[in-house]
């Protein structure tokens, strides 16, 4: 089932949660709605589920106008961050719920329900837990039950609201991979809401980045990471260094230092910023034309993060650079050492075209 949003807006009192959203989710894709808290991503998901009704615009399911369909009529599976398992029912009864509440005509026979529930429990690898209560299971197990329960009614669309947000990082990683495999096997359309850029990049086919009720950019994960169209997306998709730059005659300058060509189209000369990811800063011998001092070293597994105070940079805001563990061990960088800097890649944005977001 494909989902389209056409000019969808929703307001809560004075607060515009989402404004004029257009979004296409083709059949069979796994899309991530990514953004900081309060950006409207959950509202968007609830609008698709039918848990909220848009003030303006249309929600289309397979090209049909579903804007006023009720939650039940949309036949979507919805998974909450806090699992929302029925605590007074066993795992089996939870998964069977959607089948048992069907009208007499549609309801499968008791035997059919039993076999379906058990096969779903096997699918989420929790067949042994059928007579347990939710309180007796771990967070990861509960979320798998919530998924099984949502899938019991054969939804065409699976909507997941920060499904792994409350789990520790190892379990989260495992469940992400498992969800991706499940999606590939069962071919439904899925939308996952997350504030974790790594989760979005790892699991989704397409990522839509939201900010303040607007979609900033939509694209495949690699493209969004490499070619962000706004400073917001650039910042949100990973670590960045921010440097004030001055664009003059097609060249960008940090203080007196010429760092390279920049597009002429940028307005507000002198008011621009360059965003550089840590791995895009190259560290060389101090002879290079941009000297700096290494002020901190942090080894993080396979990578090493170096903090460098560059000349022409205020001392309290050192640049972050990343190099591989191998290189770090070969060259033996140490705190206080003089190094030379070169920017391999960077992107210049107008300062203040988009409001800065406090949450990042």
């Amino acid at each position: 089932m494909s989902i389209e949003l056409r000019g969808v807006s929703k307001q809560f009192g004075e607060f515009a949660a989402v404004e004029n959203i257009n979004l296409d989710v083709p059949t069979g894709t796994l899309m991530a709605l990514l953004g900081p808290s309060g950006c409207g991503k959950t509202t968007l998901l609830r609008l698709i589920a039918g848990l909220e009704i848009p003030d303006e615009g249309q929600v289309l399911f397979d090209g049909q106008d579903a804007t006023l369909w009720s939650v039940g009529e949309r036949k979507v599976g919805f998974v909450f961050q806090n699992y929302a398992l029925f605590r007074h029912m066993t795992v089996y009864e939870n998964v069977a719920f959607g089948l048992k509440v069907k009208g007499r005509r549609e309801r499968p026979t008791a035997a059919a329900i039993r076999s379906k529930v058990h096969s779903l429990l096997e699918l989420v690898q929790l067949g042994w837990a059928h007579d347990r209560f939710p309180a007796q299971l771990s967070g990861g197990q509960r979320q798998r039950i919530a998924l099984a329960r949502a899938m019991a009614v054969d939804p065409q669309v699976l909507l997941l609201d920060e499904p792994f947000g409350a789990l520790d990082s190892q379990v989260r990683h495992e469940l992400r991979r498992w969800l991706r495999r499940l999606h590939d096997e069962l071919h439904f359309t899925s939308i996952i809401v997350t504030h974790d850029q790594q989760e979005a990049i790892e699991v989704a086919d397409t990522v839509a980045v939201l900010n303040r009720g607007h979609i900033e950019q939509t694209g495949i994960p690699g493209e969004i990471y490499d070619l962000p169209r706004s400073a917001f997306v650039h910042r949100f998709l990973g670590q960045v260094n921010e440097l004030p730059v001055r664009v003059r005659d097609g060249r960008a300058y940090i203080g007196p230092l010429d760092i390279g060509a920049a597009a002429e189209t940028l307005k507000g000369k002198g008011e621009n910023i360059a965003l550089i990811r840590p791995h895009e800063i190259e560290i060389g011998p101090p002879s290079a034309n941009w000297p700096g001092t290494l002020v901190a070293v942090r080894v993080i597994g396979p990578i090493v993060r170096l903090e460098i105070c560059a000349d022409g940079q205020p001392i309290h805001e050192p640049l972050e650079a990343e190099i591989s563990r191998e290189r770090f061990e070969a060259e033996r960088f140490s705190v206080g050492q003089k190094v030379g800097l070169r920017l391999r890649r960077w992107q210049v944005y107008e300062r203040g075209t988009r409001p800065h977001n406090d949450t990042i």
Binding site: A49, G72, F78, F80, N82, F86, K100, F133, A135
Partner: protein
Amino acid sequence: MRRRLLIGIALMFMTLFLAIPLLTVFAQALARGAAAYLAAITEPAALSAIKLTLTVAAISVPVNLVFGVAAAWAIAKFNFRGKSTLITLIDLPFAISPVIAGLMFILLFGTNGWFGGFLRTHHIHVVFAVPGIVLATIFVTFPFIARELIPVMQSQGNDDEETALSLGATGWQTFWRVTLPNIRWGLLYGVLLCNARAMGEFGAVSVVSGHVRGLTNTMPLHVEILYNDYNYTAAFAVASLLALLALLTLAGKSFLEWRQPELRRTGHARQRPKGGKR
């Protein structure tokens, strides 16, 4: 040492102000022997008072059950204009004296009250009759169930209900199979408290009842009349019955409290929702 002192003070206070008075009631009631006790609680006026008290509780508790659940549901799950006013209104019966509550009903339904003329022409008796007693009791006991449920429902949020709806359940199915099981302990607790107050209410009922022996006397009113007649044994005999009902209610409440944490910990539900096994 300090802890012992504190516990000692608390126990002494409880004994002095709660246990001893309660024991006195039973001691006085049985002061002239079991036969006198039995006679006092089986005489026609006493029986009629017991019957009326039970009738009033049997009407007002279910009514408040329905309205309490509805009010708590509306307040906890929806946002609407006038919500804070509604919350304040629910507390009104707690805030004003029961006597004033009774007077309000006199002013509304009494002979010279707002609806007095209408009621007289249609020969409907509200004040100084059973309907007035029921109305006053419903008013006074309204907050118990709603107050008990609002925090429970607010803390549970809407996720369970929204999940049930997304799984295709109807509104009724969602209420019976998801919402009600989730709030049942709070609900039972509220019903017990509501019931205790409905049977024990004196002030509001006293104003609207008119004290017609054998007709509009509830147990608390009957106790007062006997007491004013210097008929102490009979007064305390009926009072002991009321106290017994109160004790039973409290016992029920502590039983629930004792069961509940255990239920939470092991997750064993005693009652399965209807249709859970079909």
